[in-house]
Symmetry: C2
Subunit: 697 residues, 2 copies
């Protein structure tokens, strides 16, 4: 367990913080004393002797764990205060999955009058952690306050010295008990120096020495220790937070068209390897496939979602199920379990993972429809309800009913997930989870986490914040976001503030730049600069980003003007591509992923700071993890050169306001020196700087 204590940010103490963040405090795992309240002075819950309230991160009052990954910086906060004038203090007690407790002292945040305390912690192993906050009475803090007021005023000097000696000697006894003979000797010697006859200045110098402060933090008395409840914090593997996704349709890779017979031959798992390798080479680490199951024939969709398919139309992969099988089967055109396993094995060799789409719905041809009609809704006329958005009908899709036979459908879903998990799939991208009960997902997530905590789920929900948040709370590891609809500086900054500081305990963003369902208006001009800008923003704002193939080739034609869907969508047809055709963004995407891997700052969610740029179409922001600081200056205008002043929050960069800023542009390799205020000029061909701050701490 590495533990960092970082006080709240302010420019003036940036130097101090930078220094502090370098030496991760070693905290002894001393047994933590707790006040036994044998008298009925406490309610079953509620305030303890030292009130602690408003603890965070806490999700739905602890019903679900807050989120973390290994190595992530997590802020733990609480309101801690006490009666009267004696000193109050607070600590976090972290318990790792093995039951080992570690104490991390908290520091008061600004504004002090509101009694907030904070500690940043960095868990170092996967699994179910817990934490609590303990408020405690701090006799040494009280004594220091009294001594600083009374000694210079010449009041009660003998008594102040007597009480100081007593505290130092009692602390020495605790240091002895912990086997720390050196500290014990120092404490005892210091006690002897508190001689009332000495000048007040000398006495205070003795009492406030650095060594004594450290010894007191370690062994000093902690009284009236009042713990909060223990709250859960689940630490996932790192890829839950930090990953780069690349989506492609396996059937398109290596698909061939025979003009003579006017027929297509589908690509297969085996013809996918080349694309898999190319994506891995560009630094993507999660390769996501739309559904690979048999596709229904009933009401099959043709080109551009038409209701009149021809024999060469493969149908939508989301219309799952045919006589060849359902969610537990592979589309015969793609291959079989052997070729699937081969693909997964190749991915493993490349250090990347295959993520599968998990779309809980059925075509009318799905085996469930005849074997388990109770898993669907039967209407009063005896028909099975298909999907609708009245008056529109989606007759190729039967929604599942999760209430008719909850045990049946819940266990069937779990069986299917475990089947794919057993074939090496450890990441699922779930289609439309917000149309299934939140409670159902909570159950699924608990079952999977209990046996396979490394399995990750990405929620494809585009709906209200309450539902999107709830899916994260019940266990989704990542979520799609509103990023594709945030293009202006103010809305991007506002959204990043929400993600980094409001929903961070339960919602991990995955910034997809496009999807088969979303052809963003911003990209529909086809201007390559627009694509570059969105890739740079996604890859540097969010620790996880994603690309649907075709983006790098600037595909942009909308289904019709004003529509956010693609024309000739790959959802309804084969689309082999020449991925090396120029121009393309292959190089930029590779560079971005390489920068992301090199810089821990870009792998964190919370350490985002917006800086001031005078031009509305220039966005300036930094991310930070300890000494690693990345500053991004990005144009939001793909059509024009923009010039702007940029005024930096030096404290957020770990610098003081007078400091020079030595930077290397990670996109170009150029190094230069900046100050607090700078002039930038960004063009459609060079729309951004991604600056690594090189200053020594």
């Amino acid at each position: 367990m590495r533990v960092s204590q970082i006080s709240s940010a302010s420019a003036s103490d940036a130097k101090a913080r930078k220094a502090a963040s370098k030496s991760d405090a070693k905290v002894p795992a001393a047994p933590v004393p707790t006040l036994e309240l044998s008298f009925d002075t406490v309610a079953p819950s509620g305030f303890g002797r030292i009130p602690v309230s408003g603890v965070s991160p806490v999700v739905e009052n602890g019903a679900y764990p807050a989120k973390a990954v290994v190595g992530e910086l997590i802020p733990i906060r609480a309101t801690v205060f006490r009666e009267g004038h004696d000193a109050v203090n607070a600590s976090v007690i972290l318990t790792d999955p093995a039951g080992h407790e570690t104490r991390v002292d908290m520091t008061p945040m600004e504004p002090r009058g509101l009694d907030p305390w904070e500690a940043w912690v960095r868990p170092d192993s996967e699994g179910a952690w817990t934490f609590r906050v303990e408020g405690w009475s701090d006799p040494w803090g009280t004594w220091l306050h009294v001594a600083e007021a009374k000694l210079p005023a010449g009041v009660d000097i003998p008594l102040v010295c007597l009480e100081g000696r007593d505290l130092l000697e009692r602390t020495a006894t605790r240091a002895d008990a912990a086997g720390d003979k050196v500290e014990a000797s120092i404490l005892r010697a210091t006690a002897q120096l508190l001689i009332p006859e000495r000048p007040a200045k000398d006495l205070l110098e003795v009492a406030t020495g650095k060594g004594i402060g450290a010894a007191m933090r370690r062994y000093g008395p902690r009284e009236l220790v009042s713990p909060s409840s223990d709250y859960p914090l689940f630490v996932d593997r790192r890829r839950a937070l930090f990953s780069s996704w690349y989506e492609f349709f396996p059937r398109s890779q290596g698909a061939t068209y025979d003009a003579k017979t006017d027929t297509w031959t589908s690509g297969t798992f085996d013809t996918c390897h080349e694309r898999l390798e190319a994506a891995a080479a560009m630094g993507f680490d999660v390769i996501y496939f739309p559904p690979i199951h048999p596709i229904g024939e009933a009401f099959k969709k043709g080109k551009n979602n038409s209701l009149t398919p021809t024999k060469k139309d493969p149908g939508s992969p989301w219309a799952i199920g045919s006589p060849a099988g359902g969610h537990d089967a592979i589309h015969p055109d793609l291959g079989d379990w052997t070729s699937f396993d081969r693909l997964v094995a190749r991915a493993k060799e490349l250090g990347v993972e295959i993520a599968l789409d998990f779309a809980l719905q059925a075509s009318p041809d799905h085996p469930w429809v005849t074997e388990h009609p109770e898993w669907f809704t039967t209407r009063l006329d005896g028909s099975i309800a298909y999907a609708e958005n009245p008056p529109k009908k989606y007759q190729d899709i039967y929604p599942i009913n999760f209430d008719n036979d909850a045990p049946g459908i819940y266990h069937e879903v779990l069986r299917i997930l475990r089947l794919w998990m057993s074939h090496g799939v450890r990441i699922f991208r779930v289609d439309n989870p917000h149309t299934k009960p939140v409670q159902f997902w909570g159950w699924i997530m608990r079952q999977v986490r209990a046996t396979d905590p490394d399995v990750l789920f990405l929620a494809e929900a585009f709906t209200t914040p309450a539902m999107m948040g709830a899916l994260g709370k019940v266990g989704y590891h990542q979520s799609y976001t509103y990023f594709t609809w945030r293009n202006q500086k103010w809305e991007l900054e506002e959204y990043m503030h929400d993600l980094a500081q409001t929903t961070d305990s339960f919602y991990r963003p995955n910034f997809f730049v496009n999807t088969p369902d979303i052809n963003p208006f911003y990209l529909q001009s086809g201007n390559p600069a627009a694509f570059a800008i969105r890739a740079i923003l996604a890859a540097t704002l969010s620790p996880t980003w994603g690309v649907y193939s075709g983006f790098e080739l600037f595909e942009h034609e909308p289904l019709r003007p004003g529509a956010e869907e693609y024309r000739n969508s790959e959802k309804y047809e084969f689309r082999p591509r020449d991925y090396n055709a120029a121009p393309n963004l292959n190089m930029l995407m590779g560079t971005l992923n390489s920068i992301r891997h090199a810089h821990p700052a870009l792998q964190q969610l919370r350490q985002f700071t917006a800086h001031h740029a005078s031009h509305d179409a220039v966005m300036a922001y930094s991310k930070r993890d300890g000494d690693d600081v990345i500053l991004v200056i990005c144009s939001l205008d793909p059509n024009a050169t923009v010039e702007s002043d940029v005024s930096l929050d030096m404290g957020a960069l770990g610098l003081a306001s007078g400091d020079g800023l030595h930077v290397r542009d990670e996109l170009t390799g150029a190094t230069f020196t900046w100050g607090q205020r700078n002039f930038v000029r960004l063009t459609p061909t060079n729309p951004a700087h991604i600056l690594h701050v090189l200053n020594e701490g």
Copy 2:
């Protein structure tokens, strides 16, 4: 139980709300169906089948009850949402102290996309209530949405009619079961009218009829009912929220000075009757006395807090305890238990209550000091610790130590409270509660509430919001506030927003205009207009206000320039006054109290709306309870005439934007007509309008 449902405010539906607020919906106490989840699909806590979260008012996750008084309007809110496209709905289930459940349907609030729901309830009896929020699936709402989309489009008409008939007939069966044969017949007849061959318009008219809506709200199907936890709501007697306090020192009433002997004869309980009667005549209903216990001689304070008292100085009543007794004794100069009981009886006849100061501290002469030294802190030199604010010393006061012998001191405090309670004291004003453990107060409040729920406590804490809030949370019924330091319009509006909407579930303000400890800077000019303005603000902004005697005579001399204390403070000397000397504010205080009693709007905490006045020194605000609406326009400048435009938020007044405003000024009796925009002129002699809105709803 009267229950009002009031949707969130907007000007456009003000008329509708005004109408709605008149007819308190009668809700049948039908048994509430709950979905039995026999399958392990739920976590021990967390989201139910229909997620309900963010329920309010909930204090420290239900460890302490939220506050209410009989007849108070309480908003109950929650975030309720569901998967997919079917209709969601929500209700509050209130359980009164007798265990009787009442259902109140909630309405969606703006912004709808964020899924907040709300119901306003008005409990009608004292005691321990609980409430929960139930989210539920609303099949009739789903059907209506489908019918409105499909019938005009001519889609699936027979099936839509079939499903509508089925819902109506099932609802008729429930109406039958409830013995409501009329509704059952109407529902069955309506079902027969859903004939597919009829025009869509006619079918929709049948389905959306007002009577059907009401019947469906009453008997319609509620599926997948998902309750939140039950949360406590304690309903106090009305005086906990609405009261007018008047403070005087009993010893000053009828005290006489003999110049010949240079001695004072103290006033007594018996010589207090006149002042008690005068305060009651002015409409005050709580008469609060500083401590009436024996006063210590050790380190007794003289005039103006000097350390050199003379024989004519009575000492501070907060230095409690002498050989004559402690907190359970009466100062011999004031009288005895018989004369105290006589005073309490007289108060009862007048319809007012005596509130006693409860100051948990001891003079060095207090019997506890010798009998229970363990209830104090003994220092290392063997001395008992006196109060300090280092390097300042308050040697006449020994603070209690609540940790040395918690059971002993806790029970002693309870014994003393019960002694005074047995003599008819049902309100205590607690001195400096923030210097005693919050947990201690929680215990005291629970003990007293268990046997004497009518006993009220006012917290005199001036400290951080966290501590002031915590005292309210653990059970204090009222609290002193920052009002005396809020003089500008922006800060008064901001503070009212906090009190009415942020801390309303646990913190009830008592707006004292002055206290023996606080001589506000705003009043130190002695300008009578300043006193009038502060009285008007306190009496109309807060349901509870308070006055320390002398205010009505414009007493204002500070101890020294820049000090907020009174010169020649009554805390340290006798101060008989001629309360009828002119000029005085007796008449205004009486008028204000009379207006407060006549208008329920001024007895509510939450229904505060600020209106726009163009002049910075003119404050415009309204308060409302159903049809009773009071609009206050008050100058904040005691020295000059101010003229201002006032632009009214008509919706907040229950009016539409074109309406005229018929008002009576309750200060002058004048009636006139206003519009949405008005011109006002306020002078130091007529600094305010208190307007009763006379419009018929």
